[in-house]
Structures are given as structure tokens and as C-alpha cells.
Symmetry: D3
């Protein structure tokens, strides 16, 4: 997923403010060298973005791991060469990018591996519950972890929700959506197995089973199958899926489980940058 450079520049500016007064006031701008290390185990994401940040600040980064790769704690994932002030200017922004994105990629990947140990046919997808300002990186991190990014924004695909169904029937909604454009998928939120069947018959591409118990999900899937529509629709389970209930859903005849928690409740992946200032021996003076 291509992330617009202006977004990344904005992240750096957000942390830079009026400039890094500490480095400017205190230190000579010597040629320097730094390394970034993983301090957790998981799937790395955000290296390309971090490298751009260093480049924009005036330093050169070389990736020693790849986005999407699984690493263990202690792995060196990036080397940076440049002036000391450039590296320090970009440090926190780069680490925040890798930390958040790898946190999301790792969480996504863990869920997927758990599901695939039971059923390799079920995918994991994100939602639009991302951190404000972080939509692009959060979605890219899900992809890095092996997940499906789902809708990026309100214009990506139709998603017919209860609030729309207050004002028109499912069949009418699907027809109107299809009339609007043939180039967007049509997803519909359903609350009961019966609704799911109606939606599948009405021609939705994706049937979201919202907050249904495993038993209901199973029933919805069966109704759709019995109607001969199972290979015409994608069945997405959403809502109420957590670490405990995940396995009960994973074994069912569904296609996707979508989880807001992949991006709205993230645990940062720990990374750190070590400056090695140019020359061999250096010593901290306190």
C-alpha cells in the first residue's frame, strides 16, 4: 500500500515542532551511525516508512529486515548513516511508526495463526476503527501481518448498516447500490440468520453477521448454503469476537472474521535506536 509522502512528512513535523532545540544547541553535527533493534518478537512493519523519514531528515537508512518478516528480540532491523542532528531529528517519529505498525502486524498475525491452526479457509480483516490520522499506516500494517485491510474509507465499497435499513429495505438498498456503480462491492450488515438469508438472496456480495453467537453464525451459513448461494457470497463475522471466542468462530463455514481491536487497541512493538557516533570509541560524559 502506497503511503502518500505528505502524510509521512506530517508525522515528522508533528514531532519536530520548531526544531530539535536540544541537538541544535548542544552538539556538533558530526557524521554518525545508528542501528535500530527489535526488542520484541513479532512481525515487522513500518520499515519503509521509517526509512523515508530518515531520508527526508537527511540521513540514509538501510533495511536489514523486511516489512512482513517475523523477527525475534535482538534482531537488527535498520542501519542509519548521516549527520547526528538528522538522525536525532527523525528518531522518535521513525520508532513510533515501526512500534505501532509492527504492533498491529504482530497482533494480526497471531490471530491469523490461531485461526489457521483450526481452519485455513478463514481470513482476518480490519475495520475503520483506527487511530485518527493513522488510517493509512494501520491498514498497511494489517496487510503486513497477513490480514485483509477491509474498507479504507466510506467510498471504498458499499456497507449497508442498520441505520440505512431504517430508511429502505435490504432488497431496495442492494438494488440502489448496484445501480450506483458496478465497480464497488456491496456488503450488508445483518442481525439474524433470517436477515442474512434475505440479504444473500437480494444479491449482496458480502454478508456481515453482526454480533451473532457461533450458533447463529452456523445457522446463517447453513441457510445460505441450502439456498445454493454459499459460493456467491462472502460471509464476514464481526463484533464480539475476542481471544476467548475466536476458536468457536474459526471452525465455522465462514470466510472472514473482522476485528476492530487489531487497530483500536494496539500494544506497541518495542524497538530502540542506538547511536554509534561515527568513530570507534565513544564514552558518555556526565
Amino acid at each position: 500500500m502506497h503511503i502518500d509522502r505528505e502524510i509521512l512528512k506530517g508525522y515528522l513535523l508533528e514531532d519536530t515542532g520548531r526544531g530539535d532545540i536540544t541537538s541544535e544547541a548542544l552538539i556538533p553535527d558530526t557524521d554518525s551511525y545508528a542501528e535500530i533493534y527489535a526488542k520484541d518478537e513479532g512481525v515487522i512493519s513500518g520499515l519503509e516508512e521509517a526509512a523515508f523519514i530518515f531520508a527526508y531528515a537527511g540521513a540514509q537508512a538501510v533495511l536489514t529486515a523486511s516489512d512482513g518478516e517475523t523477527v525475534t528480540a535482538g534482531r537488527k532491523i535498520m542501519e542509519i548513516r548521516g549527520k547526528a542532528r538528522a538522525i536525532l531529528l527523525a528518531e522518535r517519529t521513525a520508532l513510533n511508526l515501526i512500534g505501532r505498525m509492527s504492533g498491529i502486524a504482530t497482533k494480526t498475525n497471531r490471530v491469523i495463526r490461531k485461526i489457521h491452526s483450526l481452519n485455513s479457509g478463514v481470513r482476518v480483516a480490519g475495520t475503520r476503527k483506527t487511530a485518527p490520522g493513522a488510517r493509512a499506516i494501520d491498514k498497511k500494517a494489517i496487510t503486513a501481518g497477513g490480514g485483509d485491510p477491509h474498507r479504507f474509507d466510506l467510498s471504498d465499497a458499499f456497507l449497508i448498516k442498520d441505520n440505512h435499513l431504517v430508511l429502505c429495505s435490504a432488497a431496495e438498498a442492494i438494488r440502489k447500490a448496484r445501480d450506483y456503480s458496478a465497480y464497488k462491492k456491496i456488503e450488508i450488515e445483518t442481525e439474524t440468520p433470517a436477515e442474512a438469508l434475505i440479504a444473500a438472496k437480494a444479491g449482496a456480495d458480502i454478508i456481515m453477521l453482526d454480533n451473532m453467537e457461533p450458533g447463529q453464525v452456523s445457522e446463517a451459513s447453513m441457510l445460505i448454503k441450502n439456498a445454493g448461494l454459499r459460493d456467491r457470497v462472502i460471509i464476514e463475522v464481526s463484533g464480539g469476537v475476542n481471544a476467548n471466542s475466536l476458536e468457536s468462530y474459526a471452525v465455522l463455514d465462514i470466510d472472514i472474521i473482522s476485528m476492530g481491536a487489531l487497530t483500536h487497541s494496539v500494544r506497541n512493538f518495542d524497538v530502540s535506536l542506538d547511536m554509534k557516533p561515527g568513530v570507534k570509541n565513544f564514552k558518555i560524559h556526565i
Copy 2:
């Protein structure tokens, strides 16, 4: 903390993309009414920002709770009136703002209450480990939870770290910082009680005790006190403080505990919006 309107508009645009095709294609743009409810217990934050989002989209929000207030699950926190499409356009952005900000405010507040049960003189502060693009709202949410936002960016205050001390001594660094400007505080990172004492003697305003064990922290504080400098400096404990170790630090003679986890590892506060489309009786058509 005043959040620049352009940042908030950017959050809405990030979720809007080319427009809410579902609402535009499907539903009439009727006068509508909606409510937002808390589904967790905690400290609310983000209501002002959410209200701006609705206003910018063309709907009017009335706050029925205040930012910084503690609420319980089920509490109605906002009422919105406007065209259906305006409300639906803004919904997810508004909820994401309240969800993340209240999650941070709630976590901050829990840590503070735990500390204050032991020592009312210790404050809790954030760090710059925020989600990319969310610095302003993350810092404001910490304030809503009762915390100290700490440095907003690299230009707010001097923070002399090991990477700087590789290139000049603590005393020289502090002198240079003071020469640069009298209007910014000078903080310095120290690794041992001895370093902390040196830094205090050199005239730093804030002594950060980085990754020290409670015993070391206690020793550093004592050394500074014995040197007659305790009321001249602020002592900040940073690194390695977690739910388990929090109490061991809270009881010491320190001023601030700063924690990156307040913003880098957030659990969303759950909120939901219920549309009540204009008139009394409405029914979902599936």
C-alpha cells in the same frame, strides 16, 4: 489544549475519502437525531473534537457530559441533530476520537488514582510515544485524565539524552542549553544515582532517572536531597514502570512518573451511536 481545526478536518477527510457512497446512493437525506452512549466506565475525552466533526459535516451536537468527567456504561454523552447523511458521514470519525481519547484519559486516570492512594505528591506524565498523526489528541487526553502532557515535541523543552552526552559533558550541555534560551526548561536523562547528582549540581531543572530500580531511585533522590538541591529540581522516573512495579516507585520521594504506555498501548473506550431518524416509530427493513 487547543487543537488546530485543520487537524480535525483531516481526520474526517481520512475517513470520508471520495464520500459516503452508501448513504448517498441509498437513503433520503431526512432530518435525523442520534445519541452517543458510553459502553465502558471511565474518563471521557474527545467530546469537543467530536462535536466539531459533526458541525463541520453539517450537524449540531450537544454535549451531555464533559471532557474529563467520569462516566459509567450506559451514560448518554452526546445528542446530535441534523440531516441523516451528515450524521452518518461524521459518525466513525467522531467515535474514533472519543474512543481513543477516552481510552487514554481513562488509563491515565487509573494510574493516577493508584499512585495517589499511596502518595498524593507524585504526578503522572506522558511521553512522545503517541500514534503517528495523533500527538495533539493524545496529549489532550492525558490532560483530561489528570496527567501532565510532558513535551509536545522536540522544541518544547531541552531533554539531554545519552546520545547528546556522547558528544559533550552534562555540565557543558546544561550550560549550552541555558545560553540558548532562558525560556525553556532543561531536563537530563541519567542512568545512575551518581549521574543524577552531577546533573542536579550542574543546574538541570528536571532530572530523569531512566530505567532505575526503586532502590536506585531512592538513592538518587537521597543524594540530591543531601546536597540541598531537592527543592531545586524535579525528579522524574521513567522506563520500566508497569502495573506491577508502579507501587514500589509511587512511595518514593519523587515528583513525576512518565509512562509511554499511556499512549503507545491504548485500549479503546467503547462508545456507540444510535440513529433515531427524526420521527417516533422507525423499523429496520431487511
Copy 3:
């Protein structure tokens, strides 16, 4: 289709430059009234955008026609009230919006009416061949004319072209696209009826028949039908369709005809604004 306000403001600024020096230097800023008239027959589009431009400049517009409505020459389509300078500042930008968008809507609509006179089951779609900077308004105008906007940009849907097929087979491409996300449609460009059949079997959602003669299109459609896949795919004819050949394609068993000329070769719809300066009798002084 919701058009981001910043885009519209940008259009006004593009025409304003450093300000309307003529009005500022010459005329008193009196309360004024103006009307916009259609001078052609066709489908109107751009009224909402023009009204925003006037509002942003400080005047109030009332629509006396609706976007998507068919009008005849002489029809009053908008009334504007406000200070003379505000109206004159916005005039050209507003007229350019209505002129271009109505031109596109009218052309789209004429093609559709021609096709529907032969076959009501075939739709007309745009392409990405829009004027630089005008993507959003060009797509909205197509919708106003009754057309399908097609992909808005490169992230809307998969469109597998010859340049991609140089590097992987159709089947592999479709599988990779499906693995990437279940929420985007997969379209593939084919050059021969045989390729079209392969693509349909491989599971593409939309088969584009690129630059095929009517006979080839007919054959492609038949092959797909005979394979029992006709109701599984959308067949789009693209390239080489013009006023002369349109009818030969319209009668075939296809779903969509897409035409770049709807937006890349536009004839403006003529509209004009008449100032009626506040009071009843006014006279031009030369």
C-alpha cells in the same frame, strides 16, 4: 458524491489570484442580485458546487433547478444575493463548474438515451481520463447524467491490464488480487474472446473487452454464457466505441460500455450570469 470543500476552495483561489482588482478598484460594494441561466439544452450538474463557491465568497445562492434535471435553454437555474464584489469574485468559477459538469452530464445522458432506445440493460461508465484536477467533479457529473463513475482512482478496485499480465498469468493475478482483499472488485482487460473466457473462468468479477469489434464482443459474451458464467461476471466493452459504432455494441449481450470521451473531450454547456444590481432600474454607463 461528496466533494471535499478544500477542492472547491482551490478552484476559487485559482481564479481569484491576488483578488479581483477590477471590482475592488472600481465599484462600490452594494447589495446585489444575480441570476444564472442555461443557454443550452441538457442535463444540469454543478449547481451544488457553484452554490458553495458563492457561499464561500460571501453571497447566498438559491437553486431553481436540480442537479441531474434536464433543462432547456433560457431556464433560470440559480438566484444569487449578496454584495456585488462577492458575486463577481465567484462568477467565473461558478460558471466554469456548471459549464463543464453540465457538459459532461449532458453528453453522458445522450449516450445513455441512445443506448437505452436499443437495449435498456446496458449501462454507460466513465474512465480515469478526466481533466487534471477535475476528477471529483467529472465523476460526479457522470453520475448526474445517469452514468456509472467507474474507478475513481487506482485504489478503488483491481484492474488487471496487459502490463500486469506481462509479469503473471491471468489466473495467478486474479488469485493474488483476491488474496489481497475481499472488499474490492477484480476487473481484467482482455484482447480476445478466448482471453475473456479464461478470465471469467479464473473468477474475475468484471471482464473488460478491450478494443474488440462487435463480432468479437458477441463471441466473447457467447463463450462466457456457454460456460455458464454469464451471471457471474459483468461484461464491459471499452475502447473504440464512438458515435458511429455505438449502436452496434448497444444491442449485444453486455453490461457496460465505458467511454473516456465522456470526460476527456468535453463540450461546455453554455450558461451565463446576469447581475441585476439591487434596485429596479439600472443602466450601463459607457
Copy 4:
């Protein structure tokens, strides 16, 4: 004419959206080579802008024709080297720029050649009737075709129109404009030969004869000449000039014919890009 880079970047982003998902999901990012060919005959424009787009996307373009040059169908006008994804990301934006700008340059040039075959002393100028968002490129394309760009925006020169003359006399308007600034030309719109004479006497730099028949134009020009003012003013004919009437105006004693149709009713110049993926033999896999 220098086109601000931010405008060009905006054109690319408009087409990129969240990124080229097809190329990202499907193909390896191999070193590639592509060529752009003219498929029409006419005056090329937009090559510099297209080259910038490729450069910004990360590929290198070499121009094999020049902006302003007349080419025939089949002429190779650009070579591009770079990663496959970079080339494909920029392709449509680059082609849209060349297509529209060359279309305008070609049309402008055809009108000029037709006029000059009759009267080499008459110039052709554009108007502000450009596509929203395309002012800068539309004006540059007119220049490439040999035309005069006319006012770029409302601050470029004074243009006194009927709406201004409702509120003050021509003489007063010209005096006020002159008092405002000596560095801007003063043009005035006139409806009759008599008005044209009044305006010339009042000291306008440019007299626009708006929607006058050839006979009236001839009379206006004569009146001005007889008053000894012909070499003091520029006479611009505007409105109602089309392919049929062009010649009747071209032979008169005037200086400029301005035509909105040069930019408001454009027929794209056809160009195409052929990828030649790096190595010698490549084959499309369907």
C-alpha cells in the same frame, strides 16, 4: 510558464488515491522501460509536466520531442526507465496531462494557422474558461500552441465589464483603475462601435469588442482609427467567433481574437504508453 510543483503532485495524488493496489498486489517491482507515442497529429504540450510526474513517482523520463513541437501519429515522444510500479503509478496522470495539453495546443495552433493564412497580424488568445483545477496547464498549453494566454486570474489586469459599468461610467472606471496601479493593463468590454470609441478616448489599453458582428467590428476599428487612436489601443474581438465565422473576423483591422472554446471544449490528443518490461522477450500471460 512555471507550474508550481504542488499542483502537479496534486494531480498524481488525485489519481493514486490510497495507492495502486493492482500493481502492489500482483507484480514484482522489476526494472522496466516504457515509451510514450503520439497517436494523433498536432502540437505537443505537457511533456515537462509528465516528466515531473514520473520523476516524483521514482522513474526517469527522457523527452524525445519538445513541448511546442508539431508531431505526427506514431512519433515517440518520451522514454521512461524505472521500477514497474513507479511507471504504472504515474502512467494515467502523465497521459492525461499530455492528452489535454496537446489537445489545447493543437486546437490553438490550428486556429492560428487558419488566421495567419489570411492576416499575420492577428493573434489568438485564451480566456478564463478553463477546466476547474487546470488553469495553469491550460494556459501553458495555449502558449505552447502559439497563443496568448490572456489574463491568468482576476488580479492580472483590469477587465471592466458590463456589470461594472452598471455602477460607474467607462471614463470613471478607467480613471479609477489607473489610479489603483500603473502596472496593470486596463481592458474594457464594449457592446457597440460607439462604446468602443468612447473607451478608446478614455484611455483604455485594450478594447474588447464583445459579441459584435464583423461589420460592427470593422466600424469600431475604423472609428478608433479615425480618432487617431488606433496605435494606442489593442483591439480584441471576443464572443461568437467559431469555425465558420473565424475568417470573416480574421481579415479585419484587429489585434486579437480570444476564444473560450480553446479550453472549455477540448478534444484530447491521443497518446499511449507501452511498457517494455526491462528484458528482451516478454509475453502476456492470460
Copy 5:
């Protein structure tokens, strides 16, 4: 002169940073009232811009003087009503605008009055030597003071300087400029009376006499007059005009004196804002 709102918003943001932490932390957001007073004598400018700043911050300003009006010290020039925090947020930005703009308007006006006491036919113009970021307001302030803003930027008019004349002759330069566009004036910089005459003969609209002594200026003017071209050209004196020499130039047969010092060496006009917090009696608590 219309100043783009985004420029003015940018000025406020420049002073606001992350928000007015003092007001947010310290004071209740009560309804308040404030007044702005002139503390110098001179020509006021910037009131409209200051009023916009207050409005954008959420307060309402009423002008009690007009831009361009001459005021004496002690004159109340604006009243503001709104929340205390809104007024304080906007205060410094508003005062900086009025201070700089009135300083420029006042200086411009003093020069004009001095010149007009000797020769009412000579105008005063600015240059492009404005403060970076302040071009629009600096030019508007010159206009408020009665001056001519001269070129706003490099695209406003042709100004042929020595650096251009190194590469082509004056006659060729003027011809090329005229060929480029008939809608822009052509000014040329000359160093001697002889050059001035050549330039006038070549058809320049404006002859700049650059750094010439009064005697040379007089000679240049005479040469042009004797050639019968005096009423065909505008003569601008530029460079080396200061308080001492101004009168020697003012009495000559010239049209304009342009002075960079009007904007590059400004003395702020002193203004102050007095808060009168809502109710009658208030007292400062220290």
C-alpha cells in the same frame, strides 16, 4: 486587495502553536469585551484582517475606524466581544497585523504628502522587497496609504533588468515580451538617459530610471519628451531615493517613485488591546 483566508489563518496558527496554554490553564472562559487603541498618529491598515482573525478565533470585532483612515493617538479603532480565551488567542496576531500594516500605510502616506506638496502628479510605489510571508499584507498596506502596489510577483508584469539585457538587446526583449502576451505591461530598467530613450523608442510601457541622479533623471525625461514619447511611457524613478533626496526628484517630470524601504524597513505603528472582562469593576489580583 482580497487576502486569501488561508494566509490569515496561517498567521494565527503561527502564533498559536499547540494552543494558548496560559489562558487554558488559568482562567475561566467568561464573556469578555476588549478594545484596541491607536497609540501613534498615522494611517490605519489591517483592521479587516484583524477582524477576520478574531472571527476565526470565535470572537466578534466591530471596526470603529476604517482602513485607510488617518487617526491620532488614543483613537479607539476596534471593539471585540467574545469569550476571554478567544480574544486572548487572537490578540497578538491581530495587533501584529495592524501594527505592521499601519506602519507601512503611514510611512507610504508621509512620503506621498511630502511629494504632493511639491508635485501632485507623482505617485509612490512599492517593490517586491517585502517581509517573507507578508507580501499580500504589505502590498495592501501600501494601497491603504495611497501608494501603488507595483508588481505583486514575478508573473504580474514584465520587468526587464540588467540580468536579462546581458542575454538579449532591449529592443529584442521588448518584442519578445509583447509576443508573449498583450495583457501585461512591459517595464525596463535603464541605467543612463540614453538607455532610457532607446527603451522608450523600443516600445516599453514603463521606463525605470535605476539609481540615476536627479540631473540624469531630468535629462532622461527630457530626451523622451523631445522624442515625442512622453505621453506614451510611464517614467519610474527607483533606487537611491531617501528622505534627503526625495524632494529633488519630486519636482521632476516623472510619474512614479518606487521605494523598497516602504516595506523592507518598517517601523511598527503602536496599538494596544485592553481587556474589559465582561462586567464593570474589575481589579488585577497579584
Copy 6:
């Protein structure tokens, strides 16, 4: 101080407008060489910014002096190589930057030298009275001249003014500020020596003595010293300090004198650029 590139690009665009029509229409784009010379004596500032402007326009600048260095008239301070049009495009913006910034740096430095001849312990600081749009460069120029930039904007530090003290007492204000954040200094404005003492006792970091006579300043300083607080606070004198009174303040027991005039009333430092077009002998053709 790091100046955001977007600010500098904005300065160039402000002067460029639609492009440098003179150079584009008139001259061939030959390889060229230019030099910038100081024409005044003083402290140079703005060279880094000017070099960026040339680089962004496509030319290469080499600094032959350093920001902060004292130069005499005639000193070559920069060499530029590049295409003629690139150099001419950037010329005025670059000179305006150096002119204003060196003007501020020179004035700041003169004040400092005057003060230090009497008392080396007193610093000079700026204020927020900068030109709109020029905050970043004005502050950097003060630093280049040896001064203290003071608050950059409203979020840098607390500055409690009379308008705040209307609504709460000094002691309460200082306590609230301290509660808000430990990372920002707290300054308070006082009008009398007695108020200054109260503020010092209440724990302010910086005591501003606003518009006090030298005698009052002396008394305030003494009161604070006698209370044993002199080494706890920074004493800043502000308001009413001018060339005449400067010495009376400089000899007192204070820390800082802040002066708005450093940036609100600037006299440009004179610099000029000489084009030396590529080859040895060149001659101006008029």
C-alpha cells in the same frame, strides 16, 4: 533552529506567482553563475535559508560566509551556479530572506554589544512582535545575532499577563500553571516592585518587570534579593527600553532585556546579487 521546508517553499511561491514571465519569455536558459555581496556591515543571517531557496529552484549555492558571522560591506557571502532562469526565479526571495534576517541579527547584536560593554551578565531577548508569516525566520535571526528567541508561540511557556490577573490572583495563577505541566517555565508580568516580590515568592520562574523605570527595576531586584530569591528567578525587563534608556537598565541587577523592536521595526541589511552569465565577457545590450 530548524525551519520547516514548507515555510521556505511558501516564500518562494509567494514571489513566483504564476512564474517568472520575463525570464521565460526573453532569455535562453543558459548555465550561469552569480554572487551575492553584503553592502552593509553587520551580522549575517539567512544564508542557509537562501541556499535552500536556490536549491529548490534548481540551482546550487555555496556559502562563503556563515550565518552568525560579522561581515563588512563588499564581502562575498554566497556563490550560485545553475541555469539562468533558476537563479533569477529565486533571486528576490533569497535576498529578502538574507536582508531581513541579517537586519534583525545585526540590530540584536548591536544592542548586545552595547549592553555587554557595561554588564556582561545581561541577555537580550525578542518578543512575539514579528512580521506576520516571518516568526520562524525572525526568531532564528535573533539567535544568529546572539540573542534569546524568547517564546516562539503561545504554547511554549506560561506568560501570565494583566489580562489573566484580572480573573485570578498571581499565586493561584502560578499554582494552576504548575499543575498543568512541570515542563514549561512560568513567567509573570508585574507592574510594580511589590508585585514583583509577590510573584517571586509565589514561585514564578521568570519575573517580567513591565514598563518600569530604572529606579523601580532596581527596587524590584533588591526586594527579590533581600527575600533570598534572587538566584531562584530570572528577572526580565520589558517595555520602554530604547537606544537612550538602554544603558540605564543595562547596569542593573537583572538577567534579560526583551525588545519588540528587534523584529517589529527592522531596517533591512543591504545585499545584492550579481549575475555573471557563464562565460567571461558579457555585455548588457540596451
